[in-house]
Symmetry: D2
Subunit: 337 residues, 4 copies
């Protein structure tokens, strides 16, 4: 543990993810949260906008010269808007965890297909994909970490053991998310009356998280196109992915599949393997990903459920997990129960 | 329309489905609700147990001699307990709509595999499967109708046009239901604190609605084993099935698929074909099934969403729809807006 | 019942109240809904904006020359914006039910204190306060009805028997409302994440419904200043007022109080007197007001609960109840179960 | 901080309050949670019953000889059942925090009026009422602490400054609670479908928390009978009390009232004074009580809102706060953010 505390700033702290990152860093024993900046609510206290986070700091308009003189930064900007700020912060020497999609996709062409022109393509190769369970060592040495999307976090963790074993012939992912995943913007879609007593799919049939999931499954060994369909649910935080896997080897014993998960995750501090279908309430406001594996004997399919809190393991606490690794701190500092 | 009103009784009116059936019949212009019986809450007023249904009748202990002397009956008993009562009512000449699973499966062996010994197997061949959109004519001539399960109702309606066209090579059904689907029994699983801010699967990997769905899809032409997985959601009424279909002809044009749905359902009074992903709020407290068809161009899959109110089209209002048909009444009497 | 159907238009049908009024009139046997106008969503189908209302009409920009040539109109405009349109419609001879506060207050000075300058003060004396349980006869002869606010509806109905008997020495009203009461505008306050798992008061200590309640209680005989405090709850429709009454005669027998309620409401078609504390679920999507009276023997206070659906009896179905009266139709037509 | 960790047991850890107390103590740096006992679910793992608490211990049947040999105990038994166990634990020398009502009321007669015969009346005089903001010093020296009820905690904290100043002439308390306050028992009243989209009062007009509130207000100087009415809301954790105070000195300046609250609570670590009406979401899963004071100028009344998490400050975290005080630890250890 370093003798001095590490200075850190959160850019984009007026949103759900950025404000939670600020809370976690404000109470973190090793980080010194110096600045919180925002693109709205400038001049308001963060604990006025988000009372439950209890961060007694003023939201300032971002000024890279002032706010960028820190050891570390979390950038919680929208896709496309993030890359330029990340580049400026890297130029000033700050280590950065970027919560946007700007540096998650390794192939520029894929990024451009789904998001348009990339503002800082030269940085793509310097970014490490920030899923500690897969890239712990690379993250430890990284200066720019692309924090995974919430859906990819749950889905990749749920499927990695099968992907690595080459067992995924085909997969359907039915994802279910609480409303905080849609962000703080007040719209018809996030109005209480629209969401309450409702459930429906959105982003059908092309959701932007699809290429990110396919990219990582391919790295692991599953070169397949997935069907990924998110649904909006009447709850605030929580995300469940229900993964229906057609196995490459339909006759494989269930015990062998279970062994793959135990080997992959038996020692992971933030993965919980459970027997009952994983539910989101058990991971609410935690950095845990809860996974259960089941077998449909009638069809041979494997069914894997992965549950996370979309704002925590899906975004902000995973960002702190990455910062911990980047600065040589115990991985769970400030985010473990 | 008959000159006199048709006498009717609801057996098992203390549950969610039976009490709603009682409400719909109590306000129905052609039926005269004579009796409501129950297996609990005997002697209580139904509008005390379910104030919002406003049925000012006393729940009585079932006495087939007294209560069975009616033109029609709805039986809302649990699986296994229903068949014996149905047989007694048929002996007295009453036309019966049975809400249980006891007469839904055409093959005795299948029933026994999923539910155990059948109390009245001789009646199975006399029962008509009560999905009006598929069996309207048979229902009109039936004296015993097996009302479909809520999940099968939504799933079969969502998939029928593809099944009939022989296009279903494989299908994954991810189903999402409100808590009323779990019934009135107060348990850990239906406790508010368990359900609130939660979502998880249940009945994995063998849910009893699976053979019912497979049976009907097979009749239509899709002889496949399905993966069917229900989830419990924090809402009271409403059910969404998300159906992921691997098409037998992956290259078929989307317009052709859409045409199949228009042909099947263009004139159906209780099916609504929509472009946006179907949601449950739009069908709450109605007999409608709302269906949307989408195409995942990247995988070739068809994605079909079907939304119903599990207590209405999924159970009680569909039972009234069946009774209307059985007695030659306009199909939507008492259940259309 | 008139031989021909009564032509009617709804102005402001893009909001929660106006769209529900349109639904009730669209399905009403005696009214012919000719037009639905709006101040947003012009050109969209109403059943696209509000699928569950199933009104297959296009929202048009209001044009009084075209849309005002009707027998009756419901105006669902904001306070202040409503009066001018009401005046134009009255000039064209249409009978009007106005959902805004513009004609609820009898004293111009009171209106101006709470809402600012009144656009059409000359019409105030021609308006009848549209609470049928108090002003049935006047409404029947009225050409302009000021539909009560949702909170006043529940509160006045809950307190009227005590007010009329001169028994209210002092009263605290703690009101609780679902989010639809805040309207369709998407704001921080109506965002799902703000409301979910929350409850707090708003409009403290001056809510605009206060003078409306005081005015009507004074007419009945209770000339007192009330404390009225509304709270926002995580539900969509439903409103409960908890009224804590210090009685002018603290020693009065509870049976006498109960008799006052039975006399006042025993024959009212839309008032339900109950023994258990009234809850909102029992009146959801109905025109009923459910009232329970209790006595705190330790303090002598009477506690009265009044529950309504804020969009139905609190607004739109009460407007139809008023229209029924204004056109000599049975009061419950189109709104009774 | 003591060199060795303090041994502690939780009796009744299968309920909502006991299990949360176990969680807080399991992760507490100074306590060593040795045993968790229960009256149901014997032999099950606590992290199976309550996954989100992550306490990997087995629920055992209580055996005072084995489990009572600890430095401290929290007893989470029902009223009436608690006193006997408390007495046994005191005999063995354990310091006890009792979550039941058994030792909250100082007058035996009052206890007997509301709860029936007291099993261990001789202990009443040895118990300290465990509201740290009022009795910090007495708690520090106590061996038996009666943890306050959740409603009394919020109400007494909201009213104490006014009571101490002799300003409370009369008070109405309208309380609103999430469902966890009703406990883990699965009943009609806690069924999701009963609570969802609903709100209604319960325990009218005699709720057992009334004498506890009156007792403490009297000690502070307000000798008045209160009207206290709790309501059940569709949320899991959270409790709001809306207190309507008729002031003894109606003309007192609002600034003077505000000064009373600042003096009382300006340095309290777990009281937050706020200007906007206090809401429960801001205190969810915390030990904070959030209070706002308002003035109704039209009636002279003071309106005070107090918000807590009923399971945390209302029960379990306040119990840990008391244990911290009893063992000389910093008051917020293990429960501050």
């Amino acid at each position: 543990m370093p003798a001095e505390r590490i200075s850190v700033a959160v850019f984009g702290a007026a949103g759900y993810a950025g404000s939670l990152a600020a809370r976690l860093l404000h109470h973190h024993p090793n980080f010194d949260l110096r600045w919180v900046t925002a693109r709205s609510d400038i001049g308001r206290r963060l604990d006025d906008v988000y009372p439950h986070h209890r961060v007694p700091m003023i939201l300032e308009e971002a000024d890279v010269d002032r706010h960028g003189a820190v050891d570390a930064a979390i950038v919680a900007y929208p896709h496309g808007a993030s890359a330029a700020l990340v580049a400026q912060l890297r130029n000033r020497g700050a280590k950065v965890v970027d919560l946007s999609a700007d540096f998650r996709l390794r192939e520029l062409a894929t990024y451009e297909e789904w998001y348009g022109a990339h503002p800082e393509p030269h940085l793509i190769d310097h970014a490490v994909y920030g899923l500690p369970e897969l890239y712990r060592e690379q993250i430890a040495g990284a200066e720019l970490v692309a924090n995974p999307g919430c859906y990819p976090t749950a889905t990749i963790l749920a499927l990695a053991p099968l992907a690595r074993a080459g067992l995924i012939a085909d997969v359907v992912v039915d994802a279910k998310s609480g409303v905080s995943g849609a962000g703080r913007a007040a719209t018809d879609k996030t109005h209480f009356v629209t969401v309450d007593e409702n459930v429906n799919a959105y982003g059908v049939p092309r959701h932007r998280h699809t290429p990110e999931i396919e990219q990582e499954l391919a790295v692991l060994g599953a070169d397949t196109r997935i069907t990924f369909t998110p649904h909006l649910l009447p709850l605030d935080q929580g995300e469940l992915v229900s993964c229906y896997v057609t196995l490459g080897d339909p006759g494989i014993a269930t015990e062998e599949l279970e062994a793959l998960y135990r080997e992959a995750y038996g020692h992971e501090p933030f993965i919980e393997l459970v027997r009952e279908p994983a539910g989101v309430r058990a991971v609410r406001e935690t950095n845990f990903c809860r996974i259960s594996l089941h077998r449909d004997d009638r069809t041979g399919r494997a069914i894997v459920f992965g549950a996370i809190d979309n704002l925590w393991k899906g975004t902000a606490s995973q960002a702190v997990q990455n910062l911990n690794l980047m600065f040589g701190l115990p991985e769970g500092t400030g985010i473990a129960p």
